[in-house]
Amino acid sequence: MAKCLPNTGVISWITTVDHKRIGIMYAVSAFFFLLCGGIEALLMRTQLAIPNNTLVTAGTFNSLVTMHGTTMIFLFVMPLSAAFFNFLTPLMIGAPDVAFPRMNALSYWIFLFGGLLLNFSFVVRLAPDGGWFNYANLTGKAFSPSHAIDFWVFGVQILGLASLIAAINFLVTILNMRCKGMTLLKMPIFIWTTLVTQVLLILALPVITVALVMMTFDRTFGTGFFDPAGGGQVIMWQHFFWIFGHPEVYILILPAMGIVSEILPTFSRKPLFGYTVMVYSSCAIGFLGFAVWAHHMFTTGLGPWAQALFSAATMLIAVPTGVKIFNWISTLWGGQIRFTTAMLFAMSFIAMFTFGGLSGVMHSSPPIDSQHQDTYFVVAHFHYVLYGGAVMALFGGIFYWFPKVFGYYLHEGMGKAQFWLYMLGFNLTFFPMHFLGMQGMPRRVFTYAGDQGWNLWNLVATSGSYVTALGGVMFVVNIVYTMATKKKKAPADCWDGRTLEWSLASPPPEYNFAVDPEVKNLDDWWHQKYTHDGRRLTPRYQPDVDPATKHLPHPSFWPIILAAGLEIVAIGFFFDEVGHYISVAGLVVTLLATYGWIFEEA
């Protein structure tokens, strides 16, 4: 049955198991959700532009806060990073595809259905309003009786499952399917940060899964895990959430660090400074990420010893991060820097991420954090690290690898315009928030009085957010223009890069490598092009081969059906009387899909 599926058209996208197509689908879905998150952000900023504003009600504002946070983290940065993992990992390590191609498709479809379920809450006017961290007993049945919080609980549960399946897939791919000669310390740095990210995902997601199951039991079956009346503790949710929460923020930033570490060497025409140190510091950040979670809970009365230890661990994490920043600058030092849009984004990442990291170091100390916690200073901090850091780097990655994915360049002029609009709008929005935080404006307030001294900075922040929105529009125009005109064709080695994917044609053939590559040293592709004293050599590009000769995994319907089954199980929890029938039906569909999957010719 699988052999007769067409190679183009909607069916081919629904049944694809090719890591490149799945990567493109991840990216497209991520940008759709960026649009949703962006609109939510603009609505919030417009509501906060002037005191006692009535643009949105308090309930809607709390939903906007929750959905903006959840969408940007779980539905934009993580899937866009997954798009880069999917597209680049097999190409960079010389593998034909990922370890489990159909499981790769499964994790995409589960992610998409989870994202749609989460955003469907707007359609039924039940958008979750507990904050992206959903603290315990405000989100219990007693204080949030409607199904709004269930949308968040099941949305994040499904997204967690998708990320877990993808993480297992990529960990096995990276550790088990590298080409000949590519030892661990000869892998591109982006593959290292991807590896650490997958380890973090694999170890952090089960904790949030347990916490979400406990919350589902509390809300659906009336158990009292987080209900103080029944002996439960509200603090348990915070502990379990942040044991996942802090590795989660490293999951968001490590891929961005990997992308920047790929872009900087290419446009400085120099190798990454201190490659092994960068590898060890990424691993150190990943490992320490598990020992710092309580710095989100300094004001919940942990007691002096816990505060002292967690603040020490949090400060310790600043050391490997600092080492990486100095290594990036040393990569630029003595190079030949070319100002392409991707390079502009990468260089601005260093500056903005450093500033965000330093404002974070400030509230790593509990006394200062007792003033910063839950104020706009923290909002400024994590936007500098997440927006100025991850989002800038991801857009850099888009402009850097777009020619390789589609075969033609994005328009550099529009790219630079978007970059400067982002830089101006971003700083205009989030720098004043440091002052707002120091002047005591708490987070998640839907309005404020006119006499509290917060009027000027809120207005400036709102104007900045509109400038950023303009930058977003510029990006859409750039994509549409490039897709329509396809003017500037891209060769195989678009930017004279250093990693294996530049040896393939752009766009790369479906079978990736006609001849299995062999790697002798780090940045092997650069060494094929230049001798030590800079003399040019002719590198071995991958020859074109008739695709029929290469064995490709067959497209399959089962991933999307299995994902739909899991979705139906979750939907069952939203109907009080007939709910369990729907869930059982979902289980049956999942089981049938599993058996269909097993007995299918791969």
């Binding site: 308090a58 709390n62 201190g274 260089m347 003033q371 001294g453």
Partner: protein, 380 residues
């Protein structure tokens, strides 16, 4: 000077001129809410550092800011220099021979690992000093005044066990006295925070989840002024629809004035005009949620507390409502017009508020307004 950098130079001096005029001009429009001077040193300024604890925080704050500034310069100067110095135009980028392929330098790596560790110690040591300065429950000095803070969904309840006082939304404090707060919540997680006095402490629901806070109240800035000084506080943890409107005020009194307040607080409401007498009758309908000391509502509260399990009234205590500056937990000023809007339709002012609008006719609202705003007013 390459043409591009000349343009940059002109932009830079334009920018600095406009900022200078802005700052110089700031003095002229002080009272304007959007002025720079109105946007610093605001009523909830976290750097005010009035209490000993807040000064401890500012001590660590100052050191950390210096260290952070040093690191920021150590990063941004080489970064900007490298970008300007090693930039190459697009045309000649591909033609040049690639630069020296430098792979790493062990000494450099060692230095920028050790130096940050040393710099971080500058932050860590004062941090630990301040952390362990907060006393544990058993180390609290005996003369400290105990105050119980209980967070409700969207208002604050303050109890003074030694003085037998239960009040709401206005935290009366004597100056220069050590105070020991026991912070808990009656429903969801809140966070008790007076930015000018120091950091916040979460109010967690549940037995045994009480959090403790200890500091010495600040000195009065204008001792000659009677009636106490007002410092704003706000809930800092998302607690539902009206989280933004769950504010309160700490009122700092001179010691003797505080003693007078504590004694006068227990006086029964003084009902003079017949409008107030009518208001007292109308207040009978509010008795199921609110209590005023030495009135039938207080006896009702005793009966409710005597039940097993003890039933607590849903609304705040209104014993000294008349002398409060703000109503509805710091949301509106205590004026007749605001009071009318609040009683007429509470959820329009505080979304999701548990106070129901009893649909009182206009005359009853005016009566209960007179009773609550005048007869309960305490002069001290």
């Amino acid at each position: 000077m390459k043409p591009k950098s000349k343009a940059m130079g002109r932009v830079a001096c334009l920018l600095s001129a406009s900022i200078a005029s802005l700052l110089r001009g700031a003095g002229s429009f002080d009272e304007h809410p959007y002025s720079l001077s109105a946007s610093f040193k605001t009523p909830m300024d976290t750097l005010a550092g009035l209490t000993d604890w807040a000064q401890g925080i500012n001590y660590v704050y100052a050191i950390t800011t210096v260290v952070v500034a040093i690191v920021f310069l150590a990063v941004s100067i080489p970064l900007v220099y490298a970008i300007r110095r090693f930039r190459v135009s697009d045309e000649e980028w591909g033609t040049l021979v690639p630069p020296k392929q430098v792979h790493g330098n062990a000494i450099l790596e060692f230095t920028w690992t050790i130096i940050p560790v040393i710099l971080l110690l500058f932050i860590a040591v004062p941090t630990w000093q301040i952390i362990f300065r907060q006393p544990e429950k058993h180390q609290v000095p005996a003369n400290a005044m105990r105050i119980e803070v209980i967070g409700h969904q969207w208002w604050w309840e303050f109890r003074y066990p030694e003085l037998g006082i239960t009040t709401a939304n206005e935290l009366h404090l004597p100056e220069k006295t050590p105070v020991y707060f026991e912070i808990s919540s009656a429903d969801v997680i809140h966070s008790f925070w007076v930015p000018q006095f120091g950091g916040k402490m979460d109010a967690l629901p549940g037995k045994g989840a009480e959090n403790h806070l200890f500091f010495t109240t600040p000195v009065l800035q204008h001792p000659e002024k009677k009636g106490g000084e007002y410092y704003q506080g706000q809930c800092a943890e998302l607690c539902g629809l009206s989280h933004a409107l769950m504010r309160f005020e700490a009122v700092l009194h001179e010691k003797a004035e505080f003693e007078r307040w504590a004694t006068v607080f227990h006086n029964p409401p003084v009902v003079q005009t017949d409008l107030e007498k009518k208001g007292e009758q109308v207040f009978m309908q509010c008795m199921s949620c609110h209590t005023i000391e030495k009135t039938p509502s207080a006896d009702l509260e005793k009966q409710l507390l005597a039940m097993t399990p003890p039933a607590h009234k849903a609304g705040p205590n209104l014993t000294d409502f008349g002398s409060r500056r703000m109503i509805a937990a710091g949301t509106r000023h205590n004026t007749a017009e605001n009071f009318h809007d609040w009683v007429h339709d509470p959820s329009s002012i505080k979304p999701g508020s548990k106070m129901v609008s009893l649909g009182l006719p206009q005359a009853d609202i005016e009566a209960v307004a007179a009773y609550l705003r005048y007869s309960t007013a305490k002069t001290y």
